[in-house]
Symmetry: C2
Subunit: 160 residues, 2 copies
């Protein structure tokens, strides 16, 4: 008999989601669940191609669903189970969501073998701005800084 | 008279969005627009706290709106104007969306000065897995690999 808090139970669900929705043609083979106190509070799967949303990766959609169901922008005290090691977008989303632990199954090399080259993206994100393949240009900093100063002075702001 | 394709026109709109929605209490002071052939096809602003979505940064929401309006998961040939240098989540989302260029106004140091510490997150994302402050555990790789193999063999898959 498996314990209800066995991490394998939740990972099995993440992997099941990856298979079901891939077979349904909704996107790439990726699934994820967010767990709080031994209960799944959010499920996600890749929906990039079916919803025309390049940000609709499994982890991001699981985070969105979990936050909606908990009515909170913080998932502090929760864990995420993902069928594949997160890409940089999903990893940063996991940090922003304040998740406490990541369980993953497939790793970066496995993803690269089926043409999802997260390793390249990890390298790009880590490069200094002028060295990236995607050009960045700074302009109108002074105008934008004025808005930052207004935020800093805003008495009723909600930090996150 | 300013030319319609002057990058300052689009950045001014991104900055305007950052101010309007910050003042309305929807989230942090960040705005972004996606431009295709000199026309704005998507607008976004930070809605983290007001929509309980930690992924609702300005760039991500602008990308989602642009993709919806173009009915495409690719923004190839488009540019993004953001009132602040993107965090790693937004930067990776910009790569996934195939955007061709980034214009930004405030930079990482400006964001850090108002307590948005993207620099720390950039460092975390670049670290080897065991060195990150957020623990990662691998399990059930074999089960998940089976789904990757099924994807690889799927005849009608849509790559992205």
């Amino acid at each position: 008999m498996s314990l209800p808090l066995d991490p394998r139970t939740f990972m099995a669900r993440a992997i099941e989601l990856s298979r079901l929705h891939m077979e349904a043609g909704e996107g790439g083979p990726f699934g994820a669940v967010v767990v709080k106190d031994g209960v799944i509070v959010g499920e996600g799967w890749n929906r990039v191609t079916s919803t025309c949303d390049p940000t609709a990766h499994a982890e991001v959609t699981a985070i969105r669903q979990a936050c909606a169901s908990l009515a909170s922008f913080s998932l502090q005290g929760c864990e995420i189970y993902t069928s594949c090691e997160p890409c940089p977008m999903c990893l940063a989303a996991i940090y922003w969501a304040r998740l406490g632990r990541i369980y993953y199954a497939n790793d970066q090399a496995d993803a690269a073998a089926i043409s999802f080259d997260d390793a390249w993206l990890y390298r790009e994100v880590a490069l200094p701005l002028p060295d990236r393949s995607l050009p960045l240009t700074q302009l109108m900093r002074e105008e934008a800084l004025a808005v930052f100063r207004a935020w800093d002075a805003k008495a009723d702001k909600i930090r996150y």
